[in-house]
């Protein structure tokens, strides 16, 4: 992307910090919901070829539980909260004491609970970014799917699709304890959002 020709390292650092702040607030929200400490790994920010984006979530055919929402406002984009099926199961048990029914099937209530968790986490992620940048960023009503990672993540790539064959991804993993992953946040701002974010944060474009 042209915008990243000048000073790319600094710009990537800024986006990493954006991810850090957003996901940090989301992790705090999750930790309050579960009444357990939730930690997070340092976000990775990178241009990922479409072909390999699903590898970040275990591979294109890996079945994941994904809550997707579109970000509207000054800096639009796409956001996913991704979990493996065991992670989603643990989250449901930890949160509401849902008894494990079938390992693979989810009831309407369970899906709706997971969707609401995604909503709360994305809301705190975006609120903190909106406070930081002064830009309006509001989540649309979230939607949930349990399916192949490849099929799901395509929805985050459409805005980049017309520009090239890779997308800028801000990827943060939530951890419980030292290393056990509890979920993953993907934030993929639309290509035109970066300039607005940089301007509002006082990052020189050139």
């Amino acid at each position: 992307m042209k915008l990243f020709r000048h000073n790319p390292d600094f710009k990537m650092d800024v986006l990493r910090e954006v991810g850090n702040i957003g996901a940090g607030h989301a992790a705090t929200a999750l930790s309050r919901l579960l009444d357990k400490p939730i930690d997070m790994a340092v976000p990775t920010v990178s241009f990922v070829p479409f072909e390999s984006i699903a590898d970040r979530a275990g591979g294109p055919e890996e079945v994941v539980v994904a809550i997707f929402l579109r970000v509207d406002g000054d800096a639009p984009g796409n956001m996913f909260f991704l979990m493996s099926r065991p992670q989603a199961r643990r989250l449901l048990q930890g949160l509401a004491g849902f008894e494990a029914s079938g390992e693979d099937a989810y009831s309407e209530l369970e899906l709706s609970a997971l969707c609401e968790i995604g909503n709360i986490l994305a809301g705190s992620y975006l609120t903190s970014l909106a406070d930081l940048t002064g830009l309006s960023m509001s989540p649309t009503v979230p939607s949930i799917a349990v399916d192949m990672a490849g099929a799901i993540l395509t929805y985050g790539l459409l805005q980049f699709g017309t520009m090239g064959d890779d997308a800028l991804l801000i990827d943060t993993t939530f951890l419980k304890g030292e290393e056990e992953a509890e979920g993953q946040f993907f934030f993929i701002p639309d290509p035109e959002s970066f300039e607005r974010m940089f301007l509002s944060l006082g990052v020189p474009l050139e």
């Binding site: 072909e51 294109p60 099929a151």
Partner: protein, 165 residues
């Protein structure tokens, strides 16, 4: 290329195979997997199409395989080069799902699956290639594999297992 070989087709990618080799693409959501096949020459091609029309492209160097209106003519060119007879070619389609349901205010980009299917069919029609089978729409992901010997397209999904068309 020989029997037993599986040729991988990535996202926004296309490829051809012959002599019993298979073509495979994984994790189709809103994307459309399209195959062309000459049942006599046993020449096959597959495209993993991401977007309906290259009119919206803003990229410098156009990736032909990405858009329905450019991928299908390019795939046609490649299967013809491999010895397919244009008059015998038949097409199969899979994918074009709508993975996420939105109650209101769904932007057009979320309907991308059905639009990809429509656009692929239009492009095939304009090239006079008949669609002999399809498994499109729904709200689930698909992995597809095409056998260039039998002409069978097998479709695997998490909910419904394997289906052949």
């Amino acid at each position: 290329m020989m029997e037993g070989t599986v040729v991988k087709v990535g996202m926004a990618d296309l490829n051809v195979a012959a002599g019993g080799a298979a073509l495979k693409t994984t994790g189709l959501g809103s994307c459309v997997g399209l195959t062309l096949f000459d049942p006599k020459q046993l020449v096959a091609g597959m495209a993993h199409i991401m977007l309906p029309s290259s009119d919206i492209a803003r990229e410098g160097q156009l990736n032909l395989a990405k858009y329905a209106d450019t991928a299908i003519p390019e795939l046609l060119k490649q299967v013809l080069r491999l010895g397919a007879d244009r008059r015998r070619l038949v097409a199969k389609l899979a994918g074009g799902a709508q993975m996420f349901a939105f109650s209101s205010g769904a932007s057009d980009s979320l309907r991308i699956g059905p639009r990809n299917v429509e656009s692929a069919k239009l492009a095939l029609e304009s090239l006079d290639i008949p669609v002999v089978a399809e498994d499109t729409g729904g709200n689930y992901g698909r992995t597809i594999e095409f056998d260039s010997r039998s002409g069978v397209l097998s479709i695997r999904s998490v909910q419904y297992g394997v289906k052949e068309i």
